[in-house]
Symmetry: C2
Subunit: 371 residues, 2 copies
DNA sequence: CCTCTTGCCGAAACCGGTTTCGGAAACTTT
DNA sequence: AAAGTTTCCGAAACCGGTTTCGGCAAGAGG
């Protein structure tokens, strides 16, 4: 028996033809690897002529450094990490493709890649993130859906690993973020409804664990105040981010002695729940009561009447987040990497001047109940 | 001036605390790196006792091999590549989150990761793929949306790089795939409609460049034949995969002298276009004419009446694809890695026995046109 | 003309692993 | 007891890059 046989594993991929390595480039020009490496990486102690010869030779030979070979010395894998939480409920996330497109596009532009992973639970996300960190599969992370108190943030901050948040958080020390000014959107929504003549405007907030929810409530309150309307705590319902929850919230609002003639929703999906209520009760959205929401999901366009909403540009968000993260990994201080962008109003048919006063609406609803 | 200064770059991340390397584990036990490596990688020339001591020490010290450090010797980065084409039209892909969840879950289970990238055009995909291949960012690739003649397949096959397709292709040599039996679904759809009493059943196919389109047409034809119905070429429209195209296709069918009383759509989204036609003409879907489609997008549930459709399990698809790909990378022959799965019928309200005969429907439509 | 810089590059170490090779010790076999 | 096998592990090379260190040659300054 031959002794040179491997004792077990080893099943190296049968490379069709060997890669072009840095040594090949060096040999081709009669210089050393180190010279090639420095020339290609912008060191200043290389003569301009040499640099040119080297980069041309590299080009000609089709040399591509292996990022994992570089990583072993530099500690950088040139990859961004993205861990998504995919719950069963809202796994159908329409923005996702756009968001990912934005992230990968910005990464590609710098010749970086994106390592993606998913988990179902919050804990799962946490574990997956740790695994990626431990194996150093990415140089930094993009954290979507930031919570007010976010364990991911705490973990990464403690280990001094670069990250950017999509959304803001309670304690911003050492954090970078990109976020949409949801508070401005809700303020504008309320103002718009007020100027249409609505006197009682309600708000259905999003999940209370997320920062955005609080911000949008603030915006709603500010809008009321600016319009000189009083702030009735009863007009803010329990959080609702699903169809069903939105439906329930709408019903509870219309059941009030003095129901609102307009409802702002922190989230489109919840707003679509209101359509079911309207259909059920025979009310017309946009006249009997108005709805303005936030997100800009495609279903909103197909609803009848179309949902007036503040749309966020997910692709741009992904793009900016990746860009900010790369900058941070390259050394920019996190505090300098913070961006806010506005949501854009998409005017459709779900809002308009109120046909009825709150009292009239209440009476009308009572009539409907009887039949 | 100190000479030890770097001439330019070098900005190594200030590691909080040094990683545990294989050398640390070796020193801890007084053995060599090579022993640790072989023990941890299942070589047979390591005493069982030693293996145990080593793996326990590794565990205790929290040792995690860096995959990129391994990759430099083994040529494997333990990562799956996924390049998505995100066109503007259908960037909102509801399955995507599920699909990605499936892929990443299966990858994680084997301690692999997923490298994701996107491009807008077919050429862009091609280029992105090449880049990932050249830099060896992944050991193999998952190709969604396979075309009958697919350049990605040709390129990867030529370079002998592992890949699996979501969908089938014209020339299957050296190919692995996972696919849903769309042909069976369409056959079943046609059979179902025939058994409900429909005599004229149309089909709106998907994009002709994709294999699935041809297969579904085949299924539709088989279904007609099995039901003893004649196959009229005029009942197969131009391809339609969007809302608008589906609407146009539906209109053209209803405009016929002898219109179909049932339409099968290769794609849900196109089927939703039929709803607009129905609303426009005051027809009732499910009685005036029936619709059965394929895909199982969430919007189908919200349509009125709900869209009867054959749903595909995207999550499972992603899961299986990743699993097959990993097997292939580990050495299984591609030809042995082929799987087909059925779509599952979701019965909702868009189909049912025809209220009218084709002739009556035609007359009815003519009446509507006049007014 | 001699020393001091400076510019530029080669030699060699290094990064964290894997794999080859060979040899000492233990175990069989004759 | 000698010779042949096995078992198990250490030494060292290797993978493809990056970075340090030092030295030669050319130019600057005295």
């Amino acid at each position: 028996m031959q002794t040179g046989m491997p004792k077990t594993p080893s099943k190296l991929p049968s490379r069709t033809r060997r890669r072009v390595t840095i040594a090949d480039v060096a040999n081709d020009l009669g210089v050393t690897k180190s010279t090639v490496s420095r020339a290609l990486n912008g060191y200043t102690d290389i003569a301009e002529g040499t640099r040119l010869r080297i980069s041309r030779a590299a080009e000609r030979l089709g040399y591509r450094p292996l990022s994992h070979a570089q990583a072993i010395r530099t500690g950088r894998v040139r990859s961004l990490g993205l861990v998504l939480q995919v719950d069963n409920e809202d796994s159908a996330r329409p923005f996702l493709a756009d968001f990912i497109a934005g992230v990968t596009q910005a990464a590609s532009a710098e010749n970086w890649t994106v390592t993606i992973a998913t988990a179902e639970t919050e804990r799962g996300v946490q574990e997956t993130l740790s695994r990626l960190v431990e194996e150093h599969k990415a140089d930094g992370f993009i954290l979507p859906r930031t919570r007010s108190r976010d364990k991911r943030v705490e973990a990464l901050r403690a280990q001094n690993i670069p990250f950017v948040m999509f959304g803001r958080t309670e304690d911003p020390t050492g954090c970078s973020w990109y976020d949409i000014k949801g508070e401005d959107a809700m303020r504008a929504a309320t103002a718009r409804l007020a100027s249409q003549g609505h006197k009682r405007i309600a708000h259905v907030p999003g999940g209370s664990e997320y920062t955005y929810s609080k911000l949008r409530i603030d915006g709603y309150r500010d809008g009321l105040a600016a319009a000189g309307l009083s702030i009735a705590p009863a007009l803010i319902t329990a959080p609702a981010i699903t169809h069903d929850a939105g439906e329930a919230a709408t019903r509870s609002l219309l059941m009030m002695a003095e129901p609102p003639t307009a409802i702002t929703f922190a989230v489109d999906r919840a707003a679509l729940g209101a359509y079911r209520v309207a259909q059920d009760l025979g009310l017309r959205i946009g006249s009997d009561f108005s709805v303005i929401a936030y997100d800009g999901i495609p279903e909103g366009a197909y609803a009848n009447p179309g949902l007036t909403t503040f749309a966020v540009n997910s692709r741009q968000a992904g793009d900016r987040l990746a860009t900010l993260l790369i900058k941070q990994i390259r050394g920019t201080a996190p505090e300098e990497l913070r961006e806010l962008a506005p949501a854009t109003l998409v005017e459709r048919g779900s809002d308009g001047p109120p046909r009825l006063t709150p009292a009239e609406l209440a009476r009308c609803l009572k009539d409907i109940q009887k039949t």
